[in-house]
């Protein structure tokens, strides 16, 4: 029966136990994800009759001699049974592994996600190198879309049916429908190449190198990416707000004599934002695994650009690395959202 919890006992212990349980589940899930990725890359081609040599021929130059292909098969261990390959991969994460660069071995300390089949670079440092760009892009865009999307959604809901509401919802529909590579290229064409207000594609600079350039180079990608999400969030917020404003407890709040602004901000918004928070967490988690389209359009060397190129180049270790990386962020986002949800909504229990 609710209400009978002895106070004091609950709080921290429950949260810690919850997190521990979820972390264990997450590790298991990551293992499954990695196995599935492995299977897609190795099992399916083999089932379709691909030989280890056929696979290796992708990673050597054209006209490779049979010896060179055999060399690649051995170097990449493509002829090992799948389970052995997977075992080596898993072991690399825990214990690291070595790799032949030619005259000497390269050490790849744990966590080692292996080396790119295409350019021989270790995957983990590459990922870490690409992460700040993706973080900058995703977080900046998230701030923009959260503020504008929710703001427009609330105003639209409160002024339901007004010209402002209709205009906002039309723009939002456009935002949801237009693909990023279209809005991105058009914005570059107009603001970078015609008006010259912002730098063009490929101008991303790390914040540590030049904060001003970092900011300028990200304005268009932020807006482009945020436009899509802001549109989505405006629609979500508007719908949620309309629903909440019809709730009994809003009527109660008004009956107490609360000012309308307080009713909206303290009572309505809080209830509206809670489900949006969930979606936001998942969206952000997903984006941290790479904003593929935006990064590609603006030539930002982030995680998303890395993985799309790796998929095109059949670069399994990189694909695997990014997949796990992205899955990690999604799991993390889920966890944070669940904990936050429990904080925000007292009815939710962590169990």
């Amino acid at each position: 029966m609710p209400g009978s919890d002895p106070p004091g006992h609950s709080g921290r212990t429950i949260v810690v136990a919850f997190i521990v349980r979820r972390v264990i589940a997450a590790v298991l899930m990551l293992a499954v994800v990695s196995m599935a990725t492995f299977a897609i890359f190795f099992l399916i081609p083999r089932a379709l009759g691909q030989t280890p040599e056929g696979m290796a021929s992708r990673y050597v130059g054209r006209d490779a001699t049979p010896e060179a292909i055999q060399g690649a098969v051995k170097r990449l261990h493509l002829d090992d049974p799948l389970i052995v390959q997977y075992g080596r991969f898993a072991k690399g994460i825990v214990a690291g592994q070595d790799y032949s660069l030619g005259p000497k071995k390269a050490e790849c300390p744990a966590p080692c996600f292996g080396f790119s089949f295409n350019n021989n670079q270790p995957v983990w440092p590459t990922l870490l190198d690409r992460l700040p760009a993706t973080l900058s892009l995703a977080l900046g865009a998230a701030v923009i879309w959260l503020v504008t999307g929710v703001g427009i959604g609330v105003v639209s809901a409160l002024k339901r049916g007004s010209a402002l509401d209709r205009a906002a919802m039309t723009v939002a529909l456009a935002g949801v429908s237009l693909p990023i590579y279209f809005t991105g290229l058009v914005s570059l064409s107009v603001f970078a190449y015609t008006l010259g207000i912002f730098p063009g594609g490929g101008s991303y600079t790390p914040v540590t190198e030049n904060p001003v350039m970092w900011f300028q180079s990200l304005v268009l990608p932020w807006i482009t990416l945020a436009f899509l999400y802001a549109a989505l969030y405006a629609r979500l917020t508007r719908a949620g707000m309309l629903e909440t404003m019809g709730e009994d407890y809003i009527r109660t709040a008004r009956a107490k004599g609360l000012k309308e602004r307080t009713v909206v901000t303290k009572h309505a918004l809080r209830a509206t934002l809670t489900p949006i928070l969930t979606i936001f967490g998942l969206d952000l988690g997903l984006l941290l695994g790479g904003a593929v389209l935006t990064e590609s359009t603006f030539s930002i060397q982030g995680v998303g650009k890395l993985v799309i190129d790796a998929i095109r180049g059949n670069d399994l270790p990189v694909v695997l690395g990014v997949t796990l990386f992205a899955a990690f962020f999604i799991v993390l986002a889920n966890l944070i959202v669940d904990v936050l949800y429990a904080v925000v909504d007292p009815r939710v229990r962590l169990s």
Binding site: G3, R254, A255, R347
Partner: protein, 346 residues
């Protein structure tokens, strides 16, 4: 504008209409009544009869919306229909307060019970949180919540149904309102708890000497409590009188139906002696003549007036008002000879 009345609360020809895509919804269409301090009025009717819209109208919660409001609402010498929104807001919660039905949805799920009471108190009292909290604990204790100093931090979902209703009452009482409106205060509760809540409300009313309006679809709820009873149908008053009038000398066929629908301890709860056939009227296309005529078992005894003329609300005797085409003698005779024996037979 007419002169202020002598009564504490008086409604004069109140109309609340909502324009919709389908037409004008006349939720309340010419309602008048008076209520003094220390007295209790029961407003009875089916859902859609306009009783809840009336109560929200008194609180001014339709102001600024799409509703078209006319008529007069006088509260303690002030007219509220023409008063500014902000002024009415300042009276809400303090001078007049409301106890909503279904407190699980009427209380904010994310705020503790205490926080919601504290908020209500601090809107109208410039006190610190600590003071307000002490007040909230006191209130919870007074409405019968055990260990109020602990339960004050619980959330609504952690309370049982009865306790939630008590908390709701505590919240409404936080500023000692002079007018208290209770909308179906006991609907969601089981019978024993119902009785406790009703007792609590009458006790508190006596203590504060406030005017109390109880809104319900169930005559049984108001039987004990009310001094006067107003029966609403289709946005209008169809019968008004003292509790004795309504229970012992009801003259409107709809009131008879309500009496017949009262759940009684000696019968199965689902069994209804004298069911009211059909559904409540559409408030857009109100039936011509008497709004109740399609459902009235005695409409054929009105020589056709029931479908052609709108009956007027007329006084029979001693403030007992009835809106019916049947001649008074005939009404009395039907009650005495047809209805009453049936109600008493089992």
């Amino acid at each position: 504008m007419t002169t202020p009345p002598g009564s504490f609360l008086e409604l004069r020809d109140l109309r609340i209409h909502f324009p919709t895509e389908d037409g004008l919804v006349k939720s309340v269409d010419g309602l008048s009544f008076k209520l003094d301090r220390g007295r209790t009025l029961g407003i009875v009717g089916e859902s859609g009869s306009g009783k809840s819209v009336t109560s929200l109208g008194i609180l001014g919660l339709h102001k600024g919306g799409r509703a078209r409001i006319s008529g007069e609402i006088w509260l303690d010498g002030e007219e509220l229909v023409t008063a500014s929104q902000d002024h009415v807001r300042s009276l809400r919660g303090k001078k007049m307060a409301m106890i909503f039905q279904d407190p699980l949805s009427a209380m904010h799920p994310y705020y503790s019970v205490g926080a919601q009471i504290i908020e209500a108190y601090r809107i109208h009292h410039d006190v610190s949180k600590a003071v307000a909290r002490k007040h909230a604990v006191d209130l919870l204790g007074r409405v019968g919540i055990p260990q109020p100093d602990k339960r004050v931090d619980d959330f609504p979902h952690q309370f049982s149904g009865g306790m939630r209703q008590r908390a709701m009452i505590a919240m409404a009482l936080s500023c000692d309102p002079e007018l208290l409106i209770a909308d179906e205060p006991t609907t969601a509760l089981d019978v024993t708890v119902q009785a406790q809540i009703l007792d609590l409300m009458t006790d508190l009313q006596r203590e504060f000497n406030s005017a109390l309006i109880i809104i319900t679809h169930d005559l049984g709820v108001v039987a004990e409590l009310s001094d006067d009873i107003l029966v609403m149908y289709g946005g209008r008053c169809v019968e008004y009188g003292s509790a004795e009038d309504i229970f012992y000398r009801p003259e409107h066929p709809y009131s008879w139906g309500l009496l017949g629908s009262m759940p009684r301890l000696d019968r199965e709860p689902t069994e209804r002696l004298l069911p009211i056939k059909g559904t409540p009227p559409s408030l857009i296309n109100v039936p011509s003549g008497c709004a109740f005529n399609p459902r009235c078992a005695f409409a054929d005894r009105t020589e056709g007036r029931s479908t052609s003329q709108v009956p007027e609300l007329l006084e029979t005797e001693g403030g007992h008002l009835v809106r019916c085409h049947l001649p008074r003698a005939q009404r009395r005779s039907i009650w005495d000879n047809e209805i009453k024996p049936m109600l008493e037979s089992t």
